[in-house]
Symmetry: C2
Subunit: 126 residues, 2 copies
């Protein structure tokens, strides 16, 4: 098991690229309460790329953690975000959409993580 972080401390954490340039911050975590899994982090890039009205969905497993500076590092070239999975600030997905989540993992090269962690997941009615 790895060091645990509280959800409230992850919210508002700064995201930087490996060069230490700020990309934005984590706005929230979307969680499946029945399986106990974080499906994706919601990133707010602010004015970056002029896409301040869009939020991005990124797998939590795509980040590495810079514990010294208490920030997350995302090793993704800026131009990759132009077509990255996301949604408008005022139109968060209200219904679960497995294809959207799978696409999020695919986009960040985390397909194996997606498959490995879902293989034993229960799907409960509630």
């Amino acid at each position: 098991m790895n060091t645990l972080l509280s959800s409230s401390s992850i919210e508002n954490t700064t995201i930087v690229n490996p060069q230490g340039e700020s990309l934005g911050s984590i706005k929230d975590l979307m969680i499946d309460p029945q399986s106990g899994r974080v499906q994706y982090a919601v990133l707010d890039f602010g004015g970056f790329l002029g896409i301040g009205d869009k939020l991005f969905a990124v797998p939590l497993e795509a980040f590495t953690i810079d514990r010294t500076d208490e920030r997350f590092v995302l090793d993704v070239p800026k131009d990759r975000f132009e077509n990255a999975p996301g949604f408008p600030v005022n139109d968060w997905p209200s219904n679960p959409d497995p294809q959207f989540v799978e696409g999020v993992y695919d986009y960040y090269g985390q397909r194996e993580t997606y498959l490995r962690t879902r293989i034993n997941e229960p799907v409960l009615s509630n």
Copy 2:
């Protein structure tokens, strides 16, 4: 996949028993950022049982969700909390402790959930 909830909306959610009596609220979620799993929810029972200085660790999978009233239901008799896993308000566990987490799942009858969801979990150094 089940309906997703944001971590910020889960924080401060009211916890009731099946009779609708308030037990307290969710104070935070402890997350393993490398595996993307919620290891446990941190419950604040307030003055309930006179244990306001203790927080309780409960698996997220132990709750059912009352979507109508936007609250979580925990079907555990009150006297079960007297010896339930937790920690003092001012002394949160700082280091990951797999045995503590396993004990939390055991205490709420979620051993099978614990084993099923961990079997394919990666343990990454970071």
